[in-house]
């Protein structure tokens, strides 16, 4: 008998307990992946017959300029968004553990954006950035004498990608703050006291002692933030719909439009499969990189 198993439990009982969840999960998550892979190998608009076209959908991604643009935008969204969330989240956590009082009270408003829906956050920022009527940001620019910079921000194609990246990062920063904070407060105080006696200043304590001690947490957070931003959708979709033009189009929003506005089910499914493979691949590379640093470091 295997250790940890309860006495006298027949194996069928275990399967009986797990079967409903297993069926539901398989039907909702796993079967659709297989189904999408199948659809991605053909042409279909939902009405006529599905027609096999080998890998033609995947090949047309290569020559599709909108897709290429969306992929570059997605990589920007993920890279810049991840960096902001990790750095700001860390800055929030470090400043929070450095104050003497009110930490637990401050933590409550600190975390607020993470519990508000992406749609509400997006709508609030659409209003703040609006030009007609003049929203808070344009109004503030005018009143501090920067009137020449006032504009309808979400119509400016050179700004939209940056804006949706920032708003998305804004919503999720607090998650990383909370993760880093709980790792930092659980550190052994004796080690830090010893460092202080040895004359390490605050910055040295932070970079040479605290951060290396929570390295595993940082590594897990990098994986989490990258896979989270690679599948970002709600905020760009609600704020700009990927536009104007393709200026803030991400792979996910382009896939959604291809499927549900153009009913191009074969090509849309191919983009969806691309998205899954991209997520798994990038996460695997990051995991590999971190396990390599652990061995050498």
């Amino acid at each position: 008998m295997r250790k940890n198993q309860l006495l006298g439990t027949p194996s069928w009982a275990g399967w009986l307990f797990v079967a409903p969840a297993l069926l539901m999960f398989t039907a909702v998550v796993m079967v659709p992946i297989v189904w999408s892979s199948y659809l991605s190998l053909g042409v279909w608009n939902g009405l006529g017959k599905w027609r096999f076209n080998a890998g033609a959908n995947y090949l047309s991604m290569l020559s599709d300029t909108v897709f290429r643009h969306a992929l570059l935008n997605s990589l920007f969204f993920s890279l810049v968004g991840s960096l902001i969330q990790l750095i700001v989240g860390m800055a929030m956590a470090v400043s929070l553990i450095s104050i003497a009082r009110f930490r637990n009270i401050v933590r409550v408003p600190y975390f607020l954006p993470a519990v508000i829906s992406s749609v509400a956050i997006s709508q609030i920022f659409v209003q703040l950035l609006s030009a007609d009527p003049e929203g808070f940001i344009n109004g503030s620019l005018r009143s501090i004498g920067l009137g020449e910079h006032t504009q309808p921000f979400l119509s400016n194609t050179s700004l939209t990608l940056t804006i949706v990246t920032l708003v998305d990062a804004y919503k999720f920063c607090a998650i990383y703050m909370a993760i880093f904070y709980s790792a930092l407060v659980s550190l052994d105080q004796d080690v830090l006291a010893a460092a202080e006696i040895d004359g390490a200043n605050r910055l040295q304590q932070l970079f040479l002692i605290r951060l290396p001690l929570i390295w595993a947490t940082i590594a897990a957070s990098v994986v989490l933030v990258v896979s989270g931003t690679l599948r970002g959708f709600d905020i760009p979709f609600v704020m700009t719909g990927g536009g104007p033009g393709t200026s803030s189009e991400l792979v996910s929003t382009y896939m959604y439009k291809t499927l549900f506005s153009q009913s191009n089910f074969g090509y849309g499914s191919a983009i969806a499969i691309f998205l899954v493979v991209e997520c798994l691949l990038i996460v695997a590379i990051i995991r590999k990189a971190f396990s390599a640093t652990e061995k050498t470091g």
């Binding site: 275990g14 519990v115 749609v119 929203g135 909370a178 599948r231 499914s269």
Partner: protein, 279 residues
């Protein structure tokens, strides 16, 4: 002139204050804007943070001109069904994986955890078609079933780490006393896991209440829309005409999660952190 020492002593406090303002600013702004009269809003006072009036007409109009109340009800029904079903499926599954340890239980756990890596987008079209085939597109189940499927991995993960902490002796004592597998689970393990269940319920509630993609894709009838989707339609509908009502609708949509958060803040932060750093 501040000395170097004083500056480093004050820096964290200043930073915390700045972060604090940034984190609460949007929500404070929208609440304040929602309480101003249409005349005040027309003068461009959306730049003012403290409203000069406490005018509730925007809320009255938001409820009168849109099915906001219906959206609120739909979101509540969907949240209750989804959370109930998730708990009902996840608790026994995690218990079996951790405590009944049948052959292959570790493989089953890893299979569930694989779900954490899968973006929902890949399932959208197949689920859309299946729901149509089953004739339940445009029903509450069209959103409940997919959400349950995608919430299961996190719920099972959280339950499994809780059940791992229950000593086997406790459960074995019950079975020696003659309780069968089901009795032991139901009358020993389930009561012990109340605290874990509350954490999982709260964690799921935030996600389900805020969910957008499934609801936007699988529900088209106004009578079934959830708050995030309804809010989005409301703004594109009214956003150009009635700003006050738009601000009010935004506030109404975030109120339930914010209120819950104010009561259960530490538990929510901890559960969202635990749910995030799985594995």
């Amino acid at each position: 002139m501040l000395s170097r020492h004083k500056l480093t002593a004050w820096l964290p406090t200043v930073l915390v204050a700045i972060f604090l303002v940034i984190q609460i600013f949007p929500i404070v702004w929208v609440i304040s804007a929602s309480l101003q009269t249409p005349e005040a809003l027309a003068r461009g006072p959306s730049n003012r943070l403290i409203p000069d009036t406490l005018y509730f007409g925007n809320y009255v109009r938001a409820f009168e001109t849109s099915p906001l109340l219906q959206y609120l009800l739909n979101s509540t029904i969907i949240a209750v069904l989804t959370i109930g079903l998730t708990i009902l499926l996840a608790a026994p599954a995690a218990y079996a994986i951790e405590k009944l340890r049948f052959n292959g239980s570790q493989i089953v756990l890893n299979y569930f955890l694989l779900g954490l890596m899968i973006p929902v987008f890949v399932a959208l079209l197949p689920i859309f078609q299946s729901l149509g085939f089953l004739g339940i597109r445009n029903s509450y189940w069209a959103v409940v079933l997919p959400q349950v499927g995608f919430q299961l991995p996190v719920a099972i993960y959280l339950y499994a780490s809780f059940f791992r902490s229950i000593p086997n002796e406790l459960l074995e004592a019950a079975s020696i006393d003659g309780a069968g597998v089901f009795r032991t689970f139901w009358s020993v393990a389930v009561p012990l896991s109340i605290n874990a269940t509350i954490t999982i319920v709260v964690y799921n509630f935030i996600f389900i209440w805020n969910e957008f993609v499934f609801a936007n894709t699988f529900l088209t009838s106004d009578a079934l829309k959830t708050l995030p989707v309804g809010l989005n339609d409301f703004v594109s509908d009214m956003g150009r005409r009635d700003y006050g009502a738009t601000y009010a609708a935004i506030v109404v949509s975030v109120l339930p999660t914010v209120a819950l958060y104010l009561f259960l803040n530490r538990r929510i932060i901890d559960s969202m952190t635990a749910g995030a750093v799985r594995g």
